[in-house]
């Protein structure tokens, strides 16, 4: 729960650690398990996600407060937000292909996947639900994907080690990875109520 009367550092701590988007809020899981098998792709995905969520969060906030609310079109919220996100990712893809071709080829198929990354839409919906001001929206929109990047990099590091560890046959692959995520989640639960948040 983020509210407008939280200071900027409280929002950051809450979004990055206490309510970590992956390990506590259960969002962005498909990309978390799909991309974290290598450290380089995890870092790349994290950077792209930070970029997309900041813009998507800000754009959705503006769309909601200056278009949907005044015209009483609240029920078009889900459709409008997801279309904006899809469009954003499309433009990002086209721009990167022209302006940063090396990075674009490194990112490969991960860019269009960001559209279905539930964290992006979730942030857009939550800044409306929490009734945040514009500055707080920006702070929140940056902090959430930073938490995502932190978790995915930590996880990638662990996964690379699991790959070469002796694991019982029926636990090999995804089962042991989920159990590892369970322990990471337990660790992050230790942050709950930090600073009374």
């Amino acid at each position: 729960m983020i509210s407008n009367d939280m200071t900027w550092y409280m929002i950051i701590i809450s979004a990055v650690l206490i309510n970590n988007i992956i390990l506590i809020r259960f969002l962005a899981l498909c990309s978390f398990f799909g991309v974290s098998n290598k450290l380089e792709t995890s870092i790349g995905m994290g950077m792209a996600v930070i970029f997309v969520i900041v813009i998507a969060g800000a754009a959705s906030w503006l769309l909601w407060h200056y278009l949907l609310l005044p015209l009483k079109l609240e029920y078009l919220r889900t459709a409008a937000f997801i279309l904006v996100i899809a469009g954003l990712v499309q433009f990002l893809e086209m721009y990167m292909r022209k302006a940063m071709p090396a990075l674009y080829h490194a990112m490969g198929i991960y860019l269009p996947l960001i559209t279905t990354n539930c964290a992006v839409l979730a942030v857009a919906l939550l800044v409306v639900d929490y009734n945040l001001g514009f500055i707080n929206t920006l702070i929140y929109s940056v902090s959430v994907p930073v938490g995502y990047t932190l978790s995915i990099i930590l996880f990638a590091g662990i996964r690379e080690r699991i790959d070469i560890a002796p694991i019982p046959k029926f636990l090999k692959g995804y089962p042991i990875i989920f159990i590892t995520a369970s322990m990471m989640s337990m660790a992050f639960l230790g942050f709950s109520h930090l600073f009374g948040l």
């Binding site: 729960m1 029920y75 078009l76 459709a79």
Partner: protein
């Protein structure tokens, strides 16, 4: 060249048609369900008011110093109590509480429904149970706090934070209510 224009027009038309149908369908669903949702909310509110002041026949909203209160009147239009709301910060978020106060300043009842809170299931959610809430009946002042805080309310085992939030919310709101309605007596 003409091909591209024709193509773009075709795509544009398809998108436009689908958007129009979607928007129309949504507007229709919204107009029907928003009525039901509003009605549900109003009925839930009415039930809460009736639960804290059972013998009230009519309720009247009052605003004192910017705070909202609800006065209850019985069938003979005599004032039989007041209602105030509190929303203290619980363990996982705000807990919305409805409290009724009798003319002698003792609490008549405290109501918290499942939708009023988001506490830990099996622990904090027990603040919605009558076993916990009935303790507030008939008490006033410092008795409204937890026994651990020199009051008279038993906290829920292993859910001290949620219990304390409710007890303090009730006591602080009660003090404010007495102060705001005292002069008008």
């Amino acid at each position: 060249m003409l091909d591209i224009i024709k193509n773009s027009l075709k795509m544009g038309m398809v998108l436009l048609v689908i958007c129009a149908i979607a928007a129309a369908a949504l507007a229709q669903v919204y107009s029907v369900t928003s009525v039901i949702i509003k009605k549900n909310d109003e009925e839930a509110e009415k039930k809460k008011r009736q639960d804290v002041l059972p013998s009230a026949a009519r309720f009247e909203e009052k605003e004192i110093d910017g705070k909202k209160y609800i006065m209850g009147y019985d069938a003979e239009d005599k004032m039989i109590g007041g209602i105030f709301k509190a929303a203290p910060k619980g363990y996982s978020g705000p807990i919305k509480i409805t409290i009724g106060v009798a003319p002698d300043n003792s609490v008549t009842a405290v109501v918290i429904t499942r939708l009023d809170q988001t506490e830990t299931p099996g622990l904090g959610t027990n603040v919605t149970k009558p076993k916990f809430l009935v303790q507030f009946k008939g008490k006033k002042g410092n008795d409204l706090k937890l026994k651990k805080d020199s009051g008279a309310i038993d906290a829920i085992t292993a859910a001290t934070i949620s219990s304390r939030a409710v007890a303090n919310g009730v006591k602080n709101g009660w003090e404010q209510y007495i102060k705001d309605t005292g002069e008008k007596r």
